[in-house]
Symmetry: C2
Subunit: 222 residues, 2 copies
């Protein structure tokens, strides 16, 4: 069985877990702590990052968007990209937005710092980065709100990789109680719809020992 | 005619220029200084970054890899990705490697700091970042050398988006004379083959006023 090397609260790993569940593709989850620089893991992925989808003796796929494109091309029964090139480009633009811009401006500052022990092996959070993360999340939620107001799903009419990329990040932030949902109701309703999908349920069961999520975290009708 | 908003020494803009030339797709080049935060430009691309490929009244494509995938899907005559999903994934992995890891560890530290006035509007380079950039480029060139030794092109048998992504970054660094080619001969020979392609020639004619490139920069048989 293929192996997904992952970290439970890494948004990129969560993105791939949701895609695998949507496409009903089974893989064994193996937790990898990349900061330990395990030689066998570096051999599989010289970039030294999770997630990696590995079929031993065959493929080693990474990073998350490359895994997404591969699964899209090989498991076509549940499409997560539409067929028209322009519509595909808009969804890929949003994937890049969340994986790069949102990650740099929000997730890495809040989740990355607060869970640094769980995500990077470091122990000292940087409080200045956390402060800017709080300012930035508000701006980003306004953008998500705007997209959710105008469209059925973030990337267009259909549930797609754009929703998955965004929700993967937000689910990590939501575990920390860091998402000001009450100021962004369209974004909240959109997230509630994503969260209620069967593909999301295993994520909501992950826990960090000694750190409980807020009561609404796993509540679908929050 | 479609417009490519770009910066001459931005590696991501260069990547798209090479792709457009390979696919013989004409676009008007318009220099955009993203740090000026021009409202019309932010309206086209809310991320506020170059490159953007814009067909007025129609599409606005960004960032560079999304433009690449779109052009790959719509202009199929000159393919820059192979047909097998696993081979495509390997090339996309390398695109992500250069666009993210190489950019973060090398290009942003050397080109980004030294040409900061041309790329970000800032004037003060950060010398500590420049120092780590020099350490990192050596490690990355060893990796390119390894790939060039084992394969005809970086991503496999065919010239592909992997070669274009890598060469776009290296061409900016090479203008500054920052690439220690002599220690990495397979990498040098590979780059020489990329540089001699017709699609590369317009890049080699770009100049920064008051800053000349080393003599080998535009010399194909360097």
């Amino acid at each position: 069985m293929p192996i997904l090397y992952h970290l439970p609260f890494d948004p990129f790993s969560r993105k791939v877990r949701i895609i695998l569940a949507e496409k009903q593709f089974e893989a064994e989850l193996v937790t990898e702590q990349p900061w330990l620089k395990r030689q066998e893991f570096l051999h599989i992925n010289p970039a030294g990052e999770v997630p990696v989808l590995h079929e031993p003796g065959k493929l080693a796929l990474s990073p998350s968007q490359v895994i997404a494109e591969y699964l899209e091309e090989t498991l076509t029964k549940v499409p997560l990209l539409p067929s028209h090139p322009a519509a595909r480009a808009e969804i890929r633009r949003l994937c890049a937005w969340f994986d790069r811009k949102f990650h740099e401006e929000v997730t890495s500052r809040l989740v990355g710092e607060k869970l640094s022990r769980h995500l990077t092996g470091r122990t000292e959070p940087d409080s200045a980065r956390i402060r800017t993360g709080y300012t930035n999340i508000d701006l980003h939620l306004s953008y998500i709100n705007l997209l959710a107001e105008e469209r059925n799903w973030l990337g267009g009419n259909q549930f797609s990789l754009a929703d998955i990329s965004a929700a993967a990040h937000l689910s990590c932030l939501d575990y920390l109680g860091d998402v000001p949902w009450h100021d962004h109701l369209d974004a909240k309703n959109w997230y509630s719809r994503v969260k209620s999908r069967p593909s999301f349920q295993s994520l909501l069961r992950d826990v960090i020992p000694g750190q409980r999520p807020p009561p609404h975290y796993a509540d679908i009708d929050f």
